[in-house]
Symmetry: C2
Subunit: 482 residues, 2 copies
């Protein structure tokens, strides 16, 4: 859209000078984007001021030169109530690319505000996979209302996608791809492509199929272009290809794209027939989401999206805090059992949080490493024992270092015996933390649970309890609080 020339406007903006649109610094160094390629606060402020003042013409002129992905960002940076105003002001810039790039929560909000006909108009502009993403957010009733407005061909494709579970290849794949029989030559393929109208907007390889539509090979467009016309496709195609089963989870799909450096791949049904393709540009978002979500899951922040409604954020997080209250109570019970000792030696109360705190942190470190290694398929049954042994040694080294520091300081400030007690408790707790940090996520993985979701609660409970128990128990055993 920034290629268009708008002659009815006096302001000269970048988009109105198409002959300069390729100036190297266009997108990187202009008045709208900063060096990190995000919209400048000044610019966002001007758009919002114009929105509030009801100056829709100004808003349009400000927004029009933006790339669709930046328009999507602009929506996210506006307050919820400004988004509807913005959509009205720039309605003819609200193309499919903007919708596809919007944050899920922001898009869901906006879709719910629109009537089914308006949603249907947007859906028809979108590629099937983007349309599915938009429709799956709606509730059943709205879905039906929108689908009723959509053309039959699109509707069939969308309903087919929705028939697969969320986050599977069948839901995410594109049903528009190029598949040709293997007897074609390179020249015949090029002629076919030139004659064909309904090609995907983006494709990077041609799939070669046999008579029953089973994929037998794949041919990158680069090879097609660099091979003489008279060569048979079967002589240039690569036979060894990565095929994605239609029911495969998106996380596994993403790992396959990463592992085998794929740009696109064929999706096959249960009978091995080619039914769709996945391209890396769709996978990139999944890779980022899946890799980033562990950070949020481990902290117990749920989806952790800053656009998530407050009630959802609250309910995701409070659940974990309540679970944590439970584990904290276990720790308190252990402290309570040593109440008499604490009354006699208040130094125990002063020092005990240190043991638990360092143990908790060491456990979190090991757990983060383990969860990440499981997520990237680096930690498997083949090497679990080795990793456990590795983490034990790291924990032992950490334990020695921290014990010496805290033991010496405690001995100097309080008594040498208390120093020895806290040093011993620290080594015990760091070894416990190392073992728990590996074993808890591995156990959840073997039980087919996401190790990122539930591990923190357990690891924290183990390190907190063990920290207090080891320290207070050793103190009593050594006769410190008699």
């Amino acid at each position: 859209m920034s290629d268009e020339t708008r002659l009815d406007d006096d302001d000269v903006t970048l988009a109105e000078r198409p002959e300069e649109a390729a100036r190297p610094d266009d997108r990187l160094d202009d008045e709208r984007l900063d060096e990190e390629n995000t919209l400048k606060p000044d610019y966002v402020r001007r758009v919002r001021d114009a929105l509030e003042a009801g100056e829709n013409g100004t808003v349009y002129d400000l927004v029009e030169p933006l790339h669709p992905a930046d328009i999507a960002d602009l929506f996210e940076l506006c307050e919820a109530d400004e988004r509807a105003l913005l959509a009205v002001a720039i309605s003819d810039l609200m193309g499919s690319e903007v919708i596809a790039e919007l944050n899920d929560y922001v898009r869901e909000d906006m879709m719910e505000a629109l009537d089914p006909e308006a949603v249907a108009t947007i859906v028809e502009q979108l590629e099937t996979d983007d349309a599915v993403q938009l429709i799956e957010d709606l509730d059943e009733e709205d879905q039906q209302a929108v689908l009723a407005e959509v053309e039959a061909e699109d509707r069939v494709a969308i309903e087919s996608a929705l028939s697969y579970p969320e986050e599977t290849a069948g839901r995410l794949m594109s049903r528009n791809f190029v598949a040709v029989p293997e007897h074609l030559t390179v020249g015949q393929l090029i002629d076919f492509l030139r004659a064909e109208d309904d090609l995907p907007t983006e494709f990077y390889e041609v799939f070669i199929v046999d008579a029953s539509h089973h994929p037998v090979g794949t041919c990158a467009l680069g090879w097609v272009l660099t091979t003489p016309r008279n060569i048979a496709l079967s002589d240039v195609m690569k036979r060894d290809q990565t095929l994605i089963p239609v029911m495969l989870d998106q996380e596994e799909v993403a790992l396959m794209f990463q592992k085998y450096n794929l740009i696109s791949a064929a999706v096959i049904d249960e009978d091995g027939r080619l039914v769709g393709q996945m391209t890396v540009d769709d996978i990139v978002h999944i890779i980022s989401e899946e890799a980033g979500e562990d950070t949020l899951l481990l902290s117990g922040a749920g989806d952790g999206d800053i656009n998530e409604p407050i009630r959802d954020a609250y309910s995701a997080r409070v659940r974990w805090l309540v679970a944590n209250l439970g584990t904290a109570l276990v720790a308190s019970l252990i402290i309570a059992a040593f109440g008499a000792a604490i009354e006699k030696l208040v130094a125990l109360a002063i020092l005990m949080p240190i043991v638990a705190s360092i143990g908790g942190n060491a456990g979190t470190q090991t757990m983060a490493v383990t969860v990440r290694a499981i997520a990237t398929n680096q930690l498997t049954r083949s090497n679990t024992g080795r990793i456990l042994w590795r983490e034990t040694r790291v924990a032992f080294l950490n334990g020695i270092t921290i014990s010496v520091l805290i033991g010496a300081a405690t001995a100097a400030i309080f008594t040498p015996t208390l120093g020895a007690v806290i040093a011993a408790a620290m080594i015990i707790n760091l070894l416990t933390a190392g073992l728990a940090g590996v074993l808890v996520p591995v156990a959840f993985e073997r039980l087919d649970q996401d190790p990122a979701v539930a591990s923190s609660v357990f690891v924290t409970m183990i390190t907190d309890s063990m920290g207090f128990f080891a320290f207070l128990g050793l103190a009593v055993a050594s006769g410190l609080a008699n």
Copy 2:
């Protein structure tokens, strides 16, 4: 390599049946890979047993059918001392793809074990960007020794890449790309590509440049193939393209690829001249690394790679534990200031870890959300205020919920006054945690520090100290410990 037929071998393996290599379930359902596409423990065990028994022929036959990425995985799953044995047993399968897919630490280990000539032989097989990744691991002296063995043309390209800082586009880009003048027609471009020998193995678009080698547009191979031969490139090319400055950090490059859904992009030097290209298959690894590394950095686990040498893992993690010891001491000082109160009322010692623990967790939740939003460019100066207000409200809701629970329980078990004290302390600490969870990472970001690295220490210190201070202080103020 799996297309080759080895006639000197009686065992029939998949790779020896090229005509069947496209059987849909080849890669997904065979005796070597499980349903998550990782090597089965049984299979790894057999390879390792054969290695230990010195049966190199058996090892070769077992490994030969694997995809290079799976051979790389196999190396990682073996113990360090088995890796050298494996490399010897399958030396002619150790192609560039295997080397490129190896984990950094494993590759570094193996490179250090080889002499410069052997490394140089591998380097010459690799694309420049993979070769650079391999060489940058070596120390200066070894680098020079390897480069001396490499052919002049490759050496120049590698030295040029090494002249850019690590993790910039200049270091990572491929110097092999297709750039043509804009006066060509589609037919002339195809003829040029067919005649040209030295084309990149992977390319997805052709860059159109002017006489001074400035990029003026880009043409996806799909468009070239579907456009009649007599059309001028300048009529089919896209003028609006995303250009990557050669000094841009890889994290920003990855965000640009995600934001604009790029498959490849031109890299330009300071004068705007085309100097290289980046393709999404290189970026996918960076996206995954950058998104995953926050999990590890927030936990203070450094690189957190399970292949990292133990001494490196120890030094990365102990640093953070020592920092944490410092923050725990601050908390202890606060407790010590209330020593007299604790001696009078030991219930304070029993309950005080609860306030700090829940506060710490709430702070971690908010911090994880904030760090992730900063990393994905969703949190900018334009919406910091809104996010702060949003997190304050979530913190308040969490605070009310947790306060009611712990307040009621404490009132029942101990006294109503102590219940009120802990409830009030909990709300104060959760609000503090919410504010610190946003403000600390944002402050580090504005100071150009990575918020994932340093935020945890500060947020933990703030929530621990505030938790103990609020609870013990309110207890004293309410006359509980007089």
